[in-house]
Amino acid sequence: MSKKEIDNRFSKFGTVSFTGITRINDFIGYLEQDKLMGTKCKKCGIHYFPPRADCYHSLDSDMEWFEVKGTGKLLSYSTLTFAPTGFTQDLPYTIAVLDYGDYKVFGRVDKAVPEKELSVGMEMKAVVQQLPNEHITYMFQKA
């Protein structure tokens, strides 16, 4: 019998992933099915994004997945013209936070949206984005 395969799907997340193994690796599986998912504690109902394997409130690890749907309000953003090692080829790019009410989502804005069209408070939506080398992530577009 072959050795048990290591589930390191998370190493595909984003331009450069610094994490390989996590107990919420299904997050990547869902992205590959075009779904952006968070987790919800079955016991106390807290919604977590980014998803967690464990709930600090109920001290329970029985979580279920929920889909990040609809739109979120743009809380703040910044466009980088200097990048850390490993990201220079992506420049310029815009990072942002969307507020969905029960949770918030941090990520990048779609390059197709010029910075001058962004304003704090506008509605945006998160969509899955395929990256080179079979990496995968999500980005924000105008709602």
Binding site: F18, T19, S78, L80, P84, F106
Partner: protein
């Protein structure tokens, strides 16, 4: 209640690239602090070493420094909270002395950032944020603080020129600080001059001139119980208040993008412990890693009401002659920011101010001073209140 004092302070010059190893770099501040405290290594009961480890090639630097500085066989260990590491070290030193476990504790902060490139350092600093969920997007500290600058501008109408005023103030005082890295006075014209890079956008809306620079440097503080402080020092400076708090590392866990609640909470604790109010502070050092950080600090510390930080700098109330002088040593913006050494450098400035030994930077007869030192984007915050009595 017995008091805990600071009786020795030292700081190396903060420089772009220190021409020596880390043990030699820490010797510079160590020597100054030991001379200042009139002590020998036998008097030091324990040493807390502080830095942000992602820059160090040396693993576990405490052991190397203890040997080089002649501090064996006393205990030595490490404390880390990113850019606020050395005031976290001060908090530990206070506890060790106050508990009676030790009489005299040294806090040694250092960072040698010049061995890696600026882009590499941003990548490592970015990894002080959430590496699982945020670093894969290519984050870095200027971009995070830029999100708070944007938030402050949106909520309060703060302008890029308001932020530039903070840098202009810092540059004015660095001229008088022989330990500062950037000692050229800047004017608003420099931000408007297309041939000057400080006006270039780095991470909107922050420009190059809104950001501090990486540096190599070290700082050293000697903390003692009341008996030893009075025996060794003619002018001990007493630790009157300590506040410390944290906030979610992930930006998705933050509720607001125009203030750092950890700093506000740390300030509340420090004021309560010291039984003083913002109006009682005569001189302050705040963590101006970015210009927006100083503006938010005015508001967290109660020097200005929420949203009124820009008006404080516009009215020059944080200049040496103003209502509350802030960073009249050049701040991180002009001194440079060697991560683990920064908090100790801020404390040194306030100790010198309270002793009346700050030279050309001296404000008029201060009795109570404050240090605001923040790690990450308000992930960690320490506020320390010091007094002559």
């Amino acid at each position: 209640m017995s008091k805990v004092g600071i009786i020795g302070v030292g700081q190396s010059k903060f420089v772009r690239a220190y021409p020596g190893s880390i043990r030699e770099l820490v010797f510079e501040s160590f020597k100054e602090a030991m001379d200042d405290a009139n002590m020998t290594t036998k008097n030091i009961d324990a040493t807390v070493v502080c830095s942000a480890p992602e820059y160090d090639k040396q693993r576990s630097p405490s052991g190397v420094f203890a040997e080089y500085l002649g501090l064996n066989p006393q205990p030595t260990f490490y404390a880390e909270s990113l850019c606020s590491s050395s005031t976290t070290g001060l908090r530990l030193a206070y506890s060790l002395v106050k508990s009676g476990l030790h009489d005299v504790v040294m806090v040694l902060g250092f960072q040698k950032m010049s061995e890696i490139s600026a882009a590499e350092s941003q990548e490592r600093m970015g990894r002080g944020a959430d590496i699982q969920w945020e670093s894969p997007f290519g984050t870095m500290m200027p971009a995070y603080y830029a999100m708070f600058a944007r938030g402050h501008m949106e909520k309060y109408g703060t302008t890029p020129d308001d932020l530039a005023l903070v840098r202009i103030k810092a540059s004015k005082y660095a001229v008088f600080n022989d330990r500062a890295m950037l000692r050229k006075e800047l004017t608003m014209d420099a931000f408007k001059d297309p041939t000057n890079t400080i006006g270039n956008m780095l991470s909107s809306p922050l420009r190059v001139g809104d950001c501090c620079s990486n540096a190599d440097g070290s700082s050293c503080l000697i903390v003692a119980n009341e008996e030893k402080a009075k025996a060794f020092s003619k002018k001990p400076i007493w630790i009157k208040g300590l506040g410390s708090a944290s906030a979610p590392v992930n930006m998705a866990g933050r509720d607001i993008f125009y203030s750092l609640p950890a700093a506000t909470e740390a300030a509340r604790q420090a004021y309560a412990m010291a039984s003083v109010k913002p109006d009682d502070i005569d001189v302050a050092e705040v963590h101006d890693c970015f210009t927006i950080a100083e503006v938010m600090a005015y508001e967290s510390l109660g020097f200005a009401k929420p949203g009124e930080g820009p008006a404080l700098i516009r009215a020059k109330e944080t200049y040496k002659e103003g209502k509350i002088p802030v960073n009249v040593d050049g701040g991180l913006l002009s001194k440079g920011h060697p991560i683990g050494a920064t908090g100790g450098s801020q404390v040194r400035t306030i100790v010198l101010q309270l002793r009346g030994e700050a030279g050309d930077m001296q404000v008029k007869d201060p009795a109570i001073g404050l240090v605001h030192n923040v790690g990450g984007v308000g992930l960690y915050a320490n506020v320390t209140i010091l007094g002559r009595e």
